[in-house]
């Protein structure tokens, strides 16, 4: 998203300002400023942790214009984002991006110590980070999570997989979504990233389901590029 006209931080800040009371917004802005000015490491972690207590986890419920502005950033669709996630993304983006080693170390530390909601916020923020391609290993880690919310924080409504995932990781994401019953529709790039290897994997999966006497998820056909089920698997 480096070439975007409007930085994601400006959008997030605008959205929160329209939804939070002045004191809460002042808390966020104050912490952003302090993080940018080089606040001690432990203050950064504390602010990130406390963000949920301060702003709550209400859905942002973005309006059409707000979503349009987001879509200009590589097709970003933050339609299911919540307040705590936006506040935490703002704190991440306030962190000086240079030197890279220090930025990376702090963000990795957040991932390593994250609670459930923090994990969701971190994975959702991946496409917004400076040098997003460097977080591919982390994104793969998120996909391996058995926590559905974490998996979906990587996979859903995010331009990250479409833009950065190599084919094997992309294919694993689609197959795992079907496997855990997570909807495919919110995955951006489903059609343009379709490939013959994925097709073969999906057909094998359908055969395995049939052999076990289990239903074949309807969305499997969508992933193969069919608008409707070509033939019932049952």
């Amino acid at each position: 998203m480096e070439n975007s006209e409007v930085a994601p931080a400006a959008l997030l800040s605008r959205w929160l300002r329209a939804r939070l009371d002045a004191a809460t917004m002042a808390w966020i802005e104050d912490n952003r400023a302090r993080v940018t000015a080089g606040a001690p490491e432990r203050d950064f972690y504390a602010a990130f942790g406390m963000a949920a207590r301060r702003v709550g986890a209400e859905p942002l419920r973005l309006g059409a214009e707000e979503l349009e502005a987001a879509a200009r950033l590589d097709g970003w669709r933050p339609e299911s984002w919540r307040r705590d996630e936006a506040a935490r993304a703002l704190l991440l983006l306030a962190l000086p991006s240079e030197p890279d080693g220090e930025f990376r170390r702090r963000v990795e530390r957040l991932f390593d110590c994250a609670d459930l909601r923090e994990s969701v916020a971190l994975y959702r923020a991946l496409p917004l980070l400076p040098r997003p391609g460097e977080w591919l290993g982390r994104a793969g880690e998120g996909l391996r999570s058995n926590i559905v919310d974490v998996f979906e924080a990587v996979a859903h409504h995010s331009p990250y997989p479409r833009r950065h995932f190599p084919q094997p990781l992309w294919n694993q994401m689609i197959l795992k979504a079907l496997f855990i019953g997570s909807p495919l529709d919110p995955i951006l790039g489903l059609d343009e990233r379709r490939n013959p290897t994925l097709g073969a994997m999906l057909e094998n999966y359908a055969a395995e389901r049939r052999a076990a006497g289990r239903p074949v998820p309807l969305e499997l056909w969508r992933a193969l590029g069919f608008e409707q089920p070509a033939r019932s698997g049952e």
Binding site: R42, Y45, A46, G49, M50, A52, R53, A57, R109, D112, C113, A114, D115, L116, R117, E118, S119, N146, I147, V148, D149, F179, I180, G181, R214
Partner: protein
Amino acid sequence: MKFIDPHIHMSARTTDDYEAMARAGVVAVIEPAFWVGQPRTRAASFQDYFASLVGWERFRAAQFGVQHYCAIGLNAKEANNDRLAAEVLELLPLFLFKERVVAVGEIGFDEISALEEKYFRAQLELAREHGMLVLIHTPHRDKKAGTLRSMEICEEHGLAPSRVIVDHNNEETVAEVLRRGYWAAFTIYPKTKMGNERMVEVLRRYGPERIIVDSSSDWGVSDPLAVPKTATLMLERGLPAAHVEAACYGNALAAYGQSGQMRAQDWSEPQPLDQSRLFEGNSVLRGQEPRIEDPRVIR
């Protein structure tokens, strides 16, 4: 009747336990950080353990309709490894301010050693500085002296007794703990701690004010249904339902609710996010239904 088990180590328990607890009416649990049955050798092990208490275990519990909270702290046994303990102390601020962390705990004495006291005091300071509640583990040996010493130290650090829960009480400690204004928790745990017939008599004698029942169920021979079972016994033996409800639900909520991180709405009106994951988030059981209707058939 609804129940809270405000001290239970769910990481050591199975999904069968979660199912049974939910069925018995347990709506919420608090999992204090403690030792894992053998000493850890690296601070990183603590980091991953704390992260699992605020991450995976919280998710696992929610799948069975049980709300999960935790207390974060360095336990007494492992405080005796000075080098390691110092590193763990540095880790604590990374976890204490997270959602659903209701207290610093469980902390206190095991052998009542000088190092235990050093790290007990350091963590009390952390709690005081950040306005957090404290959950105290009282020693199983030399309990009466250790309990008294723990309370004296809390008072030296200026902590309000109403914000400290003293756990693993027995007939010998309860009077003084209540007299000083602390919450007095009792652990129903076979052999080493309280039996529930004794618990009935404690509640009968002292009344329901600031008395809390828990299981401290863990990897040992222990019972994750200790709270509902004790409540049933209390009712059978003629204690007023309001007293039983206070000891097995209301007091835990009042004590830990002071943190602002635990509210009855968490289970009476679950967040849409949690609700959508309660029974359809299926990854713990890898595609199976969380509830098994016919135990002979596995699909």
